[in-house]
Symmetry: C2
Subunit: 463 residues, 2 copies
Amino acid sequence: MSEIDQNPDLRIEAEEGSYELERSDVSAILLAVERGDQAQLTARMDPLHAADIADLLEQISSSERRRLVHLYDREFDGEILSELDESIRDEVIATLRPEVLADAVRELESDDVVDLIEDMDEEKQDVILDVLEDNDRVAVEQSLTYPENSAGRLMQSEVVTAPEHWTVGEAIDFLRAQDELPEQFYHVTLVDPRHKPVGNVTLGKLMGSRRDVLLWEIIEDVFQVIPAMQDEGEVAYAFNQYHLISAPVVDEDERLVGVITIDDAMIVLDEEHEEDILRLAGVGEGSLSDRVINTTRQRLPWLAVNLLTAIAASLVIAQFEAAISQIVALAVLMPIVASMGGNAGTQSLTVAVRAIATKDLTGSNMWRVIRREVLVGLINGVVFATVMGVVGLVWFGSPALGYVIAVAMVINMVVAGLAGTAIPVALEKFGIDPALASGAFVTTVTDVVGFFAFLGLAAMVLL
Amino acid sequence: MSEIDQNPDLRIEAEEGSYELERSDVSAILLAVERGDQAQLTARMDPLHAADIADLLEQISSSERRRLVHLYDREFDGEILSELDESIRDEVIATLRPEVLADAVRELESDDVVDLIEDMDEEKQDVILDVLEDNDRVAVEQSLTYPENSAGRLMQSEVVTAPEHWTVGEAIDFLRAQDELPEQFYHVTLVDPRHKPVGNVTLGKLMGSRRDVLLWEIIEDVFQVIPAMQDEGEVAYAFNQYHLISAPVVDEDERLVGVITIDDAMIVLDEEHEEDILRLAGVGEGSLSDRVINTTRQRLPWLAVNLLTAIAASLVIAQFEAAISQIVALAVLMPIVASMGGNAGTQSLTVAVRAIATKDLTGSNMWRVIRREVLVGLINGVVFATVMGVVGLVWFGSPALGYVIAVAMVINMVVAGLAGTAIPVALEKFGIDPALASGAFVTTVTDVVGFFAFLGLAAMVLL
């Protein structure tokens, strides 16, 4: 107990409800930085987890960050680098003195070093590789031979294995005799004589079984082998779908080369989701700590696509200038039809994009889902067409106008359901990420159809 | 090895690249169902993981599902129920014979039973509780006393603990002497005499340490205690932020009541993300397997809000009917200004909503982020204003019109950056989920400002 009391710094306070950094803590730290008070800064920073320090560094201004890192550098923990956003990380690495950086990097596990340096240019990579111990450097270099975002990049090369014919007793004696075991491991992986993984035994099962039990009698029911070339998104999917805790990674000859654990998979799952959300909004990768000019550039392509979309819609409107100049109410009402279609389309497409990502929308049920979305569009279309027909009638006193807007609304919302589902499915078929591109297509369709249906009907009925 | 070869069914084939159910497998299964061929159906279903069977059940039609469950019911595994979407799950439970359901439920861990029955009405809950063994029923009932979506609902009550003063040898002997250990556990939790958790020792460290080492000498650096009343979203955040593998759950007196493991946290993280994406699109919870009428109802409120928004924008347009009837080009061009603002606003708000969820956007850096987004809006606004000014000039041959649309565009995109950040921040302050409500507010602002700026400037300059 005494040791624990001496180390209160190592624990994160469990405030009920929130893990957010307290604004007062941030202020106290910035005050210490401003005053150049190293002792105070260290006292304030030490209780924080590396992930929280990384968040803090991301939230303060660039000049505060430089001064903080400078003042804190003797204590600088390698894990903080792993946790930082890329843009900030490069800046911090440039600020750290070389010997501090070397110390920080040497503390990291090989898979974290890979994550740290994989996007650096070769020159910077070499600086970091040079400070590593030989076996770590080999592991990192090996990992870097696999493609970016592959299982090979994600895995750690340290695996605890046992021959498939061993008993529980043999495995326990073997483990107890090791000088050094990996920091974190949950399974002993059974391998055949060719070093092909054939099963996993959890440490808990090992602990709970008699010495004479054969390891293969207590292997896990679910055992998933990951090919080293598999995309990390698929790896995360497998962990999430099959509730894996760790999975062996194999090369092309099915030989064991490493292991991926659920904590790595969870990080990937989180990143993939983040990417999906941002892509759906046309934001690309990016984070709050990117430089303004980079953010501006990232968002520009999507806005450019949207401008073309909007101009296409305007060209449709331009065909009906004569009608609009006679009945200005058309100009007043037409954005409503387009907007409702756009929203209904976005609803359908978001559901479809998610269902594709979670493999719930497949070739087997595509037509059922499309029919379903069209039906939802039709029902909601009729509801809002009725509302809007009445609004049109009351506002402009013209039953014909009310009728026109109601029919246009139904048409556009049915089209929205159809386009919102069919477009992402089609993009996926052509190998284009539906999260990235669906939005532009779907709103183009709902804008064009919305304006055309409303103005076209109006021109036919009202003029 | 022989046992493994006899059990090829237990492994999931590691196809490179994809875990999606093969369409041919689905067809073969449906064919077996159609023919009433129980042997063939069982042969086809057995190799599948419960999660894949659940996906299959979600993807087929309701009548196919009923026949499949009926034909397969002798083999029906409780885990399939856990993996099913709620709407389908109720249907399947209603289809299963009572004794099959009882068998299926008895196979589940107590936290999975909680997940299964927490949304049922009391009568149905009792049916399931009655089939459980006494200690399981008590654990489930205990868990149900905690609020929905709390850590208490998420935890398993089986925890492996050791007194804080024990040595590695004592702990190992204790574990080896147990008749039954939990299915999955990764840590031994050290407790003080009041049963308050004070540290975690991983099984790997236990295996790798000498018998005379004290447990508190090898506790994990990062130790996070979770209050039972904490929201599950915060729990998932803590696991993701601090890379936890398992964490003890405590009651109000800080006494140990259960444990949450990373696999449960990963499921919650996945659900929270799903919710965020769907809420941003105004879809609410829902899934592809909900009934059409439920989906229609879920989407209706958001469309209703959008209708009000669109009508508000139309009221702005209506103020300028005179201007539009003189210059119809205004009607043609005005949707472009609104649309560009809407898109830029959605970009800003998505980034802001995500940053709030990951606690990267806080009181400490709010103003810096708002300034940043406004600047991004200004730069992109100037770029697209220039493009659009030229388009306006060439298309309608009026320099004044080009100038008006350019200025309106800059105004609206700056406002988009401001509203896209400030509105989610403000909603969060008032305790409203920014993912749910921001979209409607932001597009209202960009529509109204877009139409007002463009038409207002046009009325001033061009008439």
